[in-house]
Amino acid sequence: MKYELHPLGDSAVIVHLGDKISEETNVLVRNISLLLEEQPLPGMIEFVPAFTSVTVFYNPLKVLQNGKRNGKRKPDSPYELICGEIESAIHKIGPENKSEARNVEIPVCYGGELGPDIELVAQHNNLTTDEVIEIHTEAEYLVYMIGFAPGFPYLGGMSEKIAAPRKESPRLKIPAGSVGIAGSQTGIYPIETPGGWQLIGQTPLKLFDLDQDPPTLLRAGDKIRFHPISTTEFEKLKGGQE
């Protein structure tokens, strides 16, 4: 595995795994994340996976104390010590550490009040709304990372055929569960926020739920598919969660 280590200040280190967003790089990100989750490094506070990197946040004092406990007189730099730990952890990654991608189905009620911009997206691409739904549901999407808001997935895999520009002025309130398109990206809003995405539908699923552990429905590395549901099914599924 090829990687580079770079400091992010004096208390974090970024493990760079590539400079292109790809499924292959995402597998590396996921494998390292899995390892750090199962065997946290001494002195590590947390780790943050992204498109092509995993960042390890650490407490320099604890890393140093741990180094001393293990009889390491050198190096005396917490950064060098944690880099050493990361390198040996990466070398330990074997076949048993390779995580399987989870498949998640996301039911979406397209159009109508829940997806007020679907016609705009259709018109922009010279399609009917049914065709937009068909194209949006036939693809498989990869969750590259979670960021921007709690539980918000950065998804790869949307067809350019349904790409549409952001709204010129963002909506002040977008309901949780809204499924939208911005440029050639599609995404789901986990919490009510302002936003400029074109809304094509809504899922009754909770993407961010404090009663769940972990609190997010999706995780980096998940494969997801959307499938259409009726308004009645939407209400039923949504009601069933309350």
Binding site: P7, D10, I45, V48, A50, F51, F57, A149, P190, F208
Partner: protein
């Protein structure tokens, strides 16, 4: 304790919400970790208890029980029952007393720690307020008039000094010892902020690198807990860089395409996609957190190794301070 007036933006914060960034949940927590940590030490708290973070204009608070408090960080001219009180030391307050604040003379963020901490439900292992997602703290929001806050149980250490100070005649009593704040939250309005090179440092033109370290930058009013915007010489990349979002940290200095500087702080998003020219050394985080809009700063490059040593030195100081405070708490009010 009851909030009579809320102040400009008063929130409940602790050290922050760690371990959930990978789910898109921001860290939050106090802006000035040093003032927060020293505050907790002074009232005998040792478990990362939550405090109040006050911004520029402090609240008015009525205490319904006898309490032990301390005020650290920025100086907002605190008064108890209209008499000025000193900061950076434990203060015993009798029930019915009122704490008010006046002018913000030093710094921009002040901290009120109470013995036992302020108790609100822990959400994802933290009591910090995450305003945008309306999570944590007091109902996920800044405090408002009429809010009533619960305090936790005093530690044994705190109890000792509480007893000593409570023997006093007046309705409040300050301890005669205090923690020196010089190396802590001495808010240096024309300060030098130490930084190390960011990952994209070499992508900036030589001229921009020199401007960054040789000219003054001013904190703009478009600054908040999420990030500080500085105005000054604009910086340019030598060529366009294709950036891929990755994790950012407290103190990351990034440069969006218009060329101004943004320093990411407590309420930063978990990842960012702008070129990072520099990263503030941890040792200067408190100094930055206390900057007022309009403050002028200069960035000074230090090596990564120097930043580490400065951090470790600061931690050693804190350990000494903790030992000193423990000793004083055990002695109680005696000097």
């Amino acid at each position: 304790m009851k909030i009579v007036k809320p102040g400009l933006q008063t929130t409940i914060q602790d050290a922050g919400r760690y371990g959930y960034q990978r789910f898109g949940v921001i860290v939050s927590g106090v802006m000035d970790q040093l003032a927060y940590r020293i505050g907790n030490l002074l009232v005998g708290n040792s478990n990362g208890e939550a405090c109040l973070e006050m911004t520029m204009k402090g609240p008015e608070i009525e205490f319904e029980k006898d309490v032990l408090i301390t005020i650290t960080g920025g100086d907002f001219s605190p008064k108890i029952n209209d008499e000025p009180v000193k900061m950076w030391r434990p203060i015993y307050i009798r029930a019915g007393s009122v704490l008010k604040f006046g002018a913000c003379t030093v710094g921009f963020r002040s901290y009120l720690a109470v013995a036992g901490g302020i108790v609100v439900p822990e959400i994802m292992e933290s009591r910090s307020t995450y305003l945008r997602a309306e999570i944590g703290g007091f109902e996920g929001r800044a405090l408002d008039s009429g809010d009533s806050l619960t305090m936790g149980e005093r530690s044994e250490r705190a109890d000792h000094i509480f007893q000593q100070l409570s023997d006093s005649e007046p309705p409040y009593m300050e301890s005669d010892w205090f923690s020196a704040a010089e190396w802590g939250t001495e808010a240096d309005q024309n300060g030098v902020i130490r930084v190390i090179q960011g990952r994209e440092w070499n992508r900036f033109t030589r001229e921009s690198q020199e401007k960054f370290t040789n000219t003054e930058y001013e904190l703009t009013p478009q600054s908040d807990r999420m990030g500080f915007r500085f105005k000054g010489e604009r910086l340019e990349l030598s060529e366009q860089v294709e950036m891929i979002s990755e994790a950012v940290s407290f103190g990351t200095i990034q440069v969006p395409s218009e060329g101004n500087l943004i320093t990411l702080l407590a309420d930063r998003q978990t990842t960012g996609g702008y070129p990072k020219i520099a990263q503030i050394a941890s040792v200067d985080f408190s100094k930055v957190a206390q900057l007022k809009p309009g403050a002028k700063v200069r960035f000074k490059l230090v090596t990564h190794k120097e930043a580490e040593s400065l951090y470790l030195e600061q931690e050693r100081h804190l350990q000494q301070l903790e030992q000193g405070i423990s000793l004083k708490l055990r002695e109680g009010g005696e000097s």
